[in-house]
């Protein structure tokens, strides 16, 4: 094995582009590993961890491009290192005519009303502030923005009649146009405000599948309803949807808010003349508490069902729990398992789905380990090693520094899935797949061979591996929902219509494994 690096001074490319190029280089004959990063301290730290000497990287700054390669032999290594320009040019998607800065962009497009910002977190607040100063609303995809900066930006925006969606905002659908990781959904009377991108994706696609549609989907960023931020963007979004003539009912999706944020949000919801569905994942109304004049949902699919019911007058069949199907499937899935097989391993691309699955498990009386445990669950000592029931958010920082997010590339989940299949106590694999703009072009296709291999591995031991999944998407998405579901079913995967239902079904398999129900 040999390794080498190239540092290109003052050459900036965005991280998604660089990850795509690095992936293509990695697939080249004789190449063992390829990384293509900007020279930030975090990236240099990662490269040092995987064996590239720190002194070789010392001169690189965040404005410099680093190519780091491990190859089988010197010839393969040189072939890549000497052809960096060729690799960069071959990648499509860099054909946009670029404005040198925000000022020039505004001259070219004076009617602009939104800045979409996805630069590294350390620079993101600065760019957002400049955009707000120029009268632009902001969709801030970047994370790692200090919470005090977030609060400042949101207050600044609200005072100027603007909104900051984010930081850490993955998804919005405005006037029928999807921004970030969004799905192609029908336009319709349901407006949604969500603190999580995958939460908005699940809600909007389920509404679409139920035959209704979305007026607007506004992201707030994951921390908006914390007491540190106080729900500033949530309140702006609620004002906007209340005034929006195409919106007939409003859904709010978030983790449970902070006490202070909730105290300012509730009176605002009560003033709203449109029906409001509130889904604070896992939030329980205290027993005996006064009934509130808005609807509450425990899970994202329940929120979608209530919103559709508000506008159509009936609950769509998609959301009615199919008890008969579950009853028939559970013994069938359990039949081939051996007595050692007891545990569920959930490997999630969507962090909110991991959070929600933990809630569903808890409702079923199952405690779980996780790298992102909810209150009452246990933290995995080593995120790389599952224990008992484990529900793992594979999109968390510890997995994605230096590597693509599982929504864009299934490599991380593929490797983990095969590791899980070697554990004799594993009974069920629980998976999610996210379709839509900017996600992997074929998320199921990338994982299907590994699913087959994992099932084969367990079969060799005289057992049966049940694989349970949900696919968040529509047939109008570039990947096509039906095609993705059919490919999973070819591999014997049980596909449920929502992430919550997939978690619920998995929990039944575990309960059965213990001899209950």
């Amino acid at each position: 094995m040999c390794r080498g690096t190239v540092i290109r001074k003052n050459e900036y490319h965005d991280s998604v582009f660089l990850m795509r190029v690095a992936r293509r280089i990695s697939e080249e004959e004789g190449i063992l590993q390829a990384a293509l990063f900007m020279g930030t301290e975090k990236n240099k730290g990662f490269l040092t961890e995987i064996g590239f000497p720190a002194e070789e990287l010392a001169t690189a700054t965040p404005s410099d491009l680093i190519l780091a390669v491990k190859a089988r032999n010197q010839q393969s290594l040189a072939g890549v290192l000497e052809n960096l320009d060729g690799w960069l040019r071959a990648e499509p998607g860099q054909g946009n005519t670029l404005a040198v800065d925000l000022g020039e962009a505004l001259t070219r497009q004076p009617l602009a009303n939104l800045a979409v910002i996805s630069v590294p977190g350390v620079y993101a607040a600065r760019e957002a502030e400049k955009a707000l100063e120029r009268g632009l609303n902001v969709f801030l995809f970047s994370d790692n923005v200090p919470v005090e900066r977030e609060r400042f930006l949101k207050q600044y925006a609200r005072e100027r009649g603007l909104i900051v969606m984010g930081p850490d905002c993955g998804t919005a659908i405005i006037g029928g146009i999807g921004i970030g990781f969004a799905n192609v959904v029908r336009r319709g009377p349901i407006g949604v405000i969500g603190a999580s991108g995958t939460g908005i994706q699940e809600f909007t696609t389920l509404v679409h599948q139920a035959g209704s549609g979305i007026s607007q989907a506004i992201g707030t960023g994951s921390r908006d309803l914390s007491d540190d931020v106080g729900g500033i963007s949530m309140l702006s979004a609620l004002d906007a949807l209340e005034a929006d003539s195409s919106t007939k009912t409003i859904a709010i999706l978030s983790k449970p808010p902070g006490t202070l944020a909730l105290a300012s949000l509730i009176p605002r919801i009560l003033q709203c003349p449109k029906p409001v569905v509130v889904c604070f994942l896992g939030w329980k109304k205290e027993p005996g508490s006064v009934d509130v004049p808005y609807q509450t949902a425990r899970t994202l699919d329940e929120a979608a069902a209530l919103a559709v019911q508000n506008v159509t007058g009936h609950l769509p069949t998609l959301f009615k729990p199919n008890g008969a199907r579950f009853e028939a499937l559970v013994p069938r899935e359990r039949m081939g398992m051996n007595p050692l097989q007891k545990y569920i391993r959930g490997l999630f691309a969507g962090g909110t789905f991991c959070y929600q699955a933990q809630q569903v498990f808890m409702d079923a009386g199952l405690a779980a380990y996780s790298n992102a445990p909810i209150t009452g669950n246990h933290k995995l000592a080593d995120t790389l090693i599952s224990k008992e029931h484990s529900l793992v958010d594979m999109g968390a920082d510890e997995f994605t520094v230096g590597r693509p997010h599982p929504m864009m590339d299934s490599r991380l989940r593929r490797e983990r899935l095969l590791v899980e299949s070697k554990d004799p106590e594993v009974a069920v694999l629980l998976l999610d797949f996210l379709l839509g703009f900017n996600s992997s072009a074929d998320p199921v296709g990338e994982l299907a061979p590994a699913i087959a291999e994992a099932k084969g591995e367990v079969k060799k031991r005289g057992g049966f591996l049940s694989v349970v999944a949900s696919v968040c998407g529509t047939n109008e998405d570039p990947q096509g929902l039906d095609q993705q579901v059919a490919r999973l079913e070819e591999e014997g995967v049980i596909v449920l219509p929502s992430s919550a239902q997939a978690a619920r079904f998995s929990s039944l398999l575990a309960v059965h494994a213990k001899g209950g129900v």
Binding site: V16, S118, R160, A243
Partner: protein, 57 residues
């Protein structure tokens, strides 16, 4: 209710994209107007220099 946020919802997004170019591409596919900014880390990415620049400007 603010005019600028209302205008965004009524007219749909007219976007200046700063960062990941794939986001600009997916917006264009849907028919949105997008200008991509050729963003590079300010002051070579040096936080002290950036703070100094912000004070001067």
């Amino acid at each position: 209710m603010s005019d600028k946020l209302k205008e965004l919802l009524d007219r749909g997004p007219n976007v200046i994209n700063i960062g990941v170019q794939d986001f600009a591409d997916s917006l264009k596919v849907q028919g949105a107007e997008v200008v991509q900014v050729n963003w590079v880390p300010p002051a070579g990415g040096d936080p002290e220099m950036i703070a100094l620049l912000d004070q001067l400007l």
